[in-house]
Every structure is written in C-alpha cells, then in structure tokens.
C-alpha cells in the first residue's frame, strides 16, 4: 500500500525495515535517538530498536565514523549520520582515506557496507557553516557511491539500496526536502511511498519531465526549481526536459547524453559551489561525448563561489532558483 510520506519518514521507514530484516544493521550518530535525528531521518527508531541498535554518540565524528568502518570489517552494516555535511572536515580522513579506499587497498578482500547519511542545503539562513551542499567533493574521491534523493519515493528505495550495497554510500538528504513542518519543503517532494521495502538501482537518473528544447540536469532540491521553471517556460513555448540524477556516483551518463542528443541544449543546475564540481563534470561529459549535438553553449547555475551568506537577501541572491533558470534558458534559446 502506498501513502504520501514526507522524505524524512520515508528514510526512517527504510532504515527501520532494513533493521528488522537484518540484525547487522544499526545506526549511530548525534541526536539520532530520543531526538530522532535533527532532520528526522531516524524518527521512531529508538523506540522500536532500543539504544543498543540506535546509538547516540558523543560529538566525536572521527571516532564513530571510523568506528563504522571497524564494525563493518566485522560483518556489521552500520548507518551513521553526520548531522550536517558541513561538518565533514572533522572526519574526512576516515571517510575518504579509509572507508572509501579499504576495499581497493585490500583488492576486494574487505567489504565496507557503511552508509553515511548527512544533511545538505541552504535556504533558511543557516549561514556559511550550516548550508553547504559539498557532494561534489565526495563524488571526486574514488570509492564512495553518492546518492542524492529528491523525493520520498526515491529516498526510501535509494536508502534500502544503500544499506544493502556492499560498498560505502554517502547519502545526502536535503534539509529543504525532508518535509519536516518547521522547514520549508516543496509539497511535491512528499509523494506516495509503498509500505513494503523496495530498492532503486544506483546509476539510473530519472527524467522527471520530458521536453525537446533544453535538458536541465540537476539533483536534490534543485529538481523542483527546474520543474517550476519548466512550467513557466512552457508558457513561452519552451519545452524543458528535466533530469534528476539521483546518484552522482555512479553517474547515469547515458540518460544525460541521450537527452542532450535530443534537445541540443544543456543547462546544469546545482546547489553546490560552481567551480570544480558537479556542473563542470556534467558539461565536460557532454562536451566530450556529444559536442556535435550542442546547438548552443552549455550553461550552468550554482552557488557562485562564495560561502553561503546569512542574511536573507544575500542568501537568495547566491542560490540557484526558478527565476534564474527561466532567465538563462531564455537566453539559451
């Protein structure tokens, strides 16, 4: 049976069902117990599974994220929450030098089925150290799968896939998609979610809107800005195709290239910083592989290489938005 669920409940349900199925799955993190996770991703788990499997930790991210690797080496399947991705810098060594590389360095002899879930995104004035997206960094270093759901259906299926994957998965949920009530979230992100467990394969982007004039490649919360822009552009007779990447690693190159082959125009929209990140990668992919199908220079919108400012008008100015997409697509036509 399917009901509409907000994303945070879909994530919690996925974890809960996997914990029921598999006793090696457990959760660690800050405020993931009684609080249910600052962004709700572990709601209800403590009550269901108790403090042995739902472990509140000290503010020692290196210890418990490195700890996840150690536990995985003994057959456990830990899920750890890094409260905000912005905090990655206190524990990045364990993530990218160990969790990401142990499988390779052991030539596949050590499996690392660890899920690191973390909150991304801006839009509510949480300023420079609590509003970043940063998934580009994790996609850059080899050995991590990178998952970025944009709605509750995907969130559940991708989380179950992540837990069952024998490789480390970075799972990025956008605070502004969780449907928490106290944080603005597009209604469209809370979709029907089957009660039973299901998986969504990694590396399959989703064409969330078909169109012939321009391909907008994006992910996470920007999917909605793109869709809203597409609706508005429709009125002007511009037909926008919107691609929700769903995972950055593996990247669904085929869907992107097929779309651009059809539309001949590419716009990449990203809430991460502009340079040396996702937007460059997607444009390069297309330029390398579909140069001749481009009818116009590919373009991109992202945070213009500034830290996220606090004050509302400033923050709004630097974030990608429907308005900016509409404007740029019009220029591209």
């Amino acid at each position: 049976m399917a009901r509409k669920l907000p994303m945070y409940m879909a994530i919690a349900e996925a974890i809960s069902q996997e914990m029921e199925r598999d006793s090696s799955v457990f959760v660690m993190g800050e405020d993931i117990g009684a609080y249910g996770g600052i962004f709700g991703a572990t709601t209800g788990l403590l009550d269901k599974f108790g403090p042995d499997r739902v472990k509140d930790t000290p503010i020692s991210e290196s210890a418990f994220i490195g700890g996840a690797l150690g536990a995985a080496s003994k057959g456990m399947r830990p899920i750890v929450e890094l409260m905000f991705v912005d905090f990655f810098g206190v524990t990045m060594d364990q993530i990218y030098n160990h969790i990401a590389k142990v499988t390779y360095m052991s030539n596949g002899n050590v499996k690392v089925p660890v899920v690191i879930m973390t909150a991304i995104g801006a839009g509510y004035s949480d300023a420079a150290q609590h509003s970043q997206t940063l998934y580009g960094i994790f996609a850059h270093v080899p050995g991590l799968k990178v998952v970025v759901p944009s709605n509750s259906y995907d969130a559940k299926g991708l989380m179950i896939s992540a837990i069952r994957d024998d490789n480390p998965v970075m799972y990025f949920f956008h605070k502004g998609l969780q449907g928490l009530g106290w944080m603005p979230s597009p209604e469209e992100a809370a979709v029907e979610v089957p009660e039973e467990p299901y998986t969504i394969p990694f590396g399959k982007a989703k064409i969330v809107r078909e169109g012939n004039d321009v391909s907008v490649v994006t992910a996470s919360r920007m999917v909605y800005e793109a869709l809203w822009a597409a609706e508005e552009l429709e009125k002007d007779g511009v037909n926008v195709e919107v691609i929700d990447l769903r995972t950055l690693v593996p990247l669904d190159k085929e869907t992107i290239l097929n779309s651009v082959a059809k539309t001949g125009r590419l716009l990449v929209v990203d809430e991460d910083y502009l340079s040396y990140g996702l937007t460059g990668e997607i444009i390069a992919l297309v330029a390398e592989n579909a140069l001749s199908s481009l009818k116009a220079p590919p373009r991109r919108i992202a945070v213009p290489d500034v830290p996220l400012p606090y004050s509302r008008p400033l923050e709004k100015f630097v974030l990608p938005s429907k308005e900016k997409i509409v404007k740029l697509v019009k220029e591209m036509m």
Partner: protein, 332 residues
C-alpha cells in the same frame, strides 16, 4: 564571600542581567513571523538561534578579567561571552537581524560574530574554537605580548579531537590560553553521562599536566575567582589552564527545540540554579542594593537593550549583490 569589591559585584550583576534580558528578548523576537506554523526560515531572525540563558556566570566571571587585546574564541552559543567581552552590541544585534549595519553586514549571522576591535570571534563548528585560541596564544608568544586567549566550548565539545590536540599543544608550548568548558549537561539532546567517560572534564587537565578546576557557575563569584587565577597564570607566562563551569541551560538547545528528551526535573534544577537570580538574592540579602535600586538598574539596561533592538530592526538589509563581496581581501 571572597575578596571582591561591591562595585565589581554590581558590575558583574549588570552584565549578567544584560545578557539575560538580551537573550530572552531575542528568544521572543525569534518567534515573530514564525507562527502559526513554526518556520525556521521566517521572521526577523531566521536560521538557528542558540541562547545562553542560565550560563551567564561563566562568560561574565571570565571576561571581567580580560582586556580588549585579549581574545575570546567562541561557539554557537556565545552571546553571553560576546556581551561580556564588550562586543559592539548594536552591530552584533544588527548582524543577528541580518542587516547591513551588522558586524559583518549580514554575511555572518548569529553563529559568526567577529569583532576584531575586542578580539572576539566564534563559529558554528563544535570544538573548532580550541585550536584557534591556541593560535592566539602562539601569536602572543611570537610577539612577546602579554595578551591571553580564552577558548570556549561546551561539555559536548570536549569530546572532539581538537580539544585534546589543543590542550596538548598549549601545555607543551606553555601558551597563554584559558580553556573554558561550559558544562550545561546537554549536547543538544544527549546528556553528559552519555557522552563523556569521566564525570568532570576538568580532570582531563591532568592528561596535559596543567591545572584543571571545576566550578559551580551558580555563583559568579566562584567563577570570577577561578578565572582570575587562570588569567593571571596565562598572562605571567605560566601556561594554560582548564576550567569547567557547571551551568544550566534554561532554554532548548536552539529556539524551537521542544525538548521532549529532557526530564522535567532537569529543567527545574536548572531554574533552581539560575545564576542571575542567585546573585540578585545575594545583592538584596547583603543590602548592596535595595529592591528599588535594583529595579532602576534593571530598567536602565532594559531601555538600553530595547533601543539596540530597535536600531537593528530599523536598519536596512544589505543589497543582494553585496553577497559577492569580500570572499577575498582586495578582490581576487
């Protein structure tokens, strides 16, 4: 009571009351525009807001010993230290309101208050203050100066790796740093006994061969005494100290926190240990001030703060495109 002049005591009280009134006022304003449905992004103060009500004594008892050239490096819950350190309160408030007249013209916000004139800074990353305060200590040594640095952290922050690295380095190099751990028993929803293998962080000073003291923050004078010694030690080149101040969090972790995780008794205990009330009672019972005098003094402060808030409210927002400025000094 130890040797502290009536005048000093009264001035401690004034600052504590100022902080309390300031925080409680922000705590009200924060909800403006956020009802009927609480929306963190709305209102005159959007984003997270961590208030320090109940923890005033630690800031005031420490900062009274500091000069403008001394540094305080703080955390996400830091208005009390900012005020006690003498940060320009108009500019700080305007910053919290996201206005162009703010300390950072709206770029920083409540967790990112910088006032170089009084060497105040803070950040939203737990445990990040420790190394930076150590760095100030290094600078003092390099410059042969006698300023000192105060690193502030919660009891939760004391489990971050930076705590260890910083104490070791400060002890090793005998740096003029005072590490102040505010033990308010909670790291968001997780109680201290679920995060800390030892009941007192002050004991951890032993791991670095430096003095460590635990002090009850109910009584600001106790904090004053302990901090006095630590600051003097630091200023005299005798090296760092660790002070854990037991304080109580009178409000949620941040505003909007329903505190479902928190036992009722815990909040009651917090109220019973209110350092502002405690000092008020001392002042009255020792007849340092009459009730009437105290009231007047409070009213002066209230008027001052109200005016500051009004200033912040009336100030202009920055122009959107200012967002692109000052990533680098001198442009790129």
């Amino acid at each position: 009571m130890p040797d502290i002049s009536e005048q000093t005591l009264l001035s401690l009280y004034k600052t504590m009351f100022k902080i309390r009134y300031y925080e409680e006022t922000l705590g009200k304003i924060y909800y403006e525009g956020k009802s009927p449905i609480f929306d963190i992004s709305a209102g005159p103060i959007p984003g997270e807001l961590h208030l320090s009500s109940g923890q005033e004594s630690s800031a005031v008892g420490v900062c009274v010993h500091l000069k403008p050239e001394d540094a305080v490096v703080g955390t996400h819950r830091i208005h009390h230290f900012a005020i006690a350190k003498g940060v320009d309160l108009k500019a700080m408030t305007a910053e919290i309101f996201g206005k162009r007249t703010g300390l950072s013209a709206g770029k920083g916000g409540h967790m990112h208050l910088f006032d170089p004139k009084v060497n105040f800074s803070c950040s939203g990353i737990v445990g990040a203050s420790f190394p930076q305060a150590v760095g100030v200590g290094i600078a003092a040594r390099q410059q042969g100066a006698d300023y000192v640095a105060v690193a502030v952290g919660g009891e939760g922050a004391a489990n971050q790796g930076t705590f260890h690295e910083s104490l070791n380095l400060a002890a090793l190099w005998k740096l003029p740093v005072i590490f102040v751990i505010e033990d308010n028993s909670w790291a968001v929803s997780v109680p201290k006994d679920k995060t800390t293998s030892l009941s007192r962080n002050s004991e951890r000073a032993k791991a670095y061969g430096i003095p460590g003291v635990y002090v009850d923050g109910k009584d600001v004078v106790a904090v004053y005494e302990v901090a006095k010694e630590a600051v003097e030690r630091a200023r005299n080149g005798e090296g760092p100290s660790l002070i854990e101040v037991k304080v109580y969090r009178l409000r949620g972790h941040f505003e909007g926190d329903a505190q479902v995780y928190r036992p009722k008794e815990d909040l009651e205990q917090a109220m019973a240990n209110d350092p502002v009330k405690y000092l008020e009672n001392q002042i009255l019972s020792r007849n340092l001030q009459s009730e009437q005098e105290l009231k007047e003094l409070q009213n002066d402060i209230i008027a001052e703060i109200d005016e500051i808030i009004e200033y912040a409210r009336q100030s202009e927002y920055p122009e959107p495109q200012e967002a692109l400025e000052n990533v680098f000094i001198g442009g790129d």
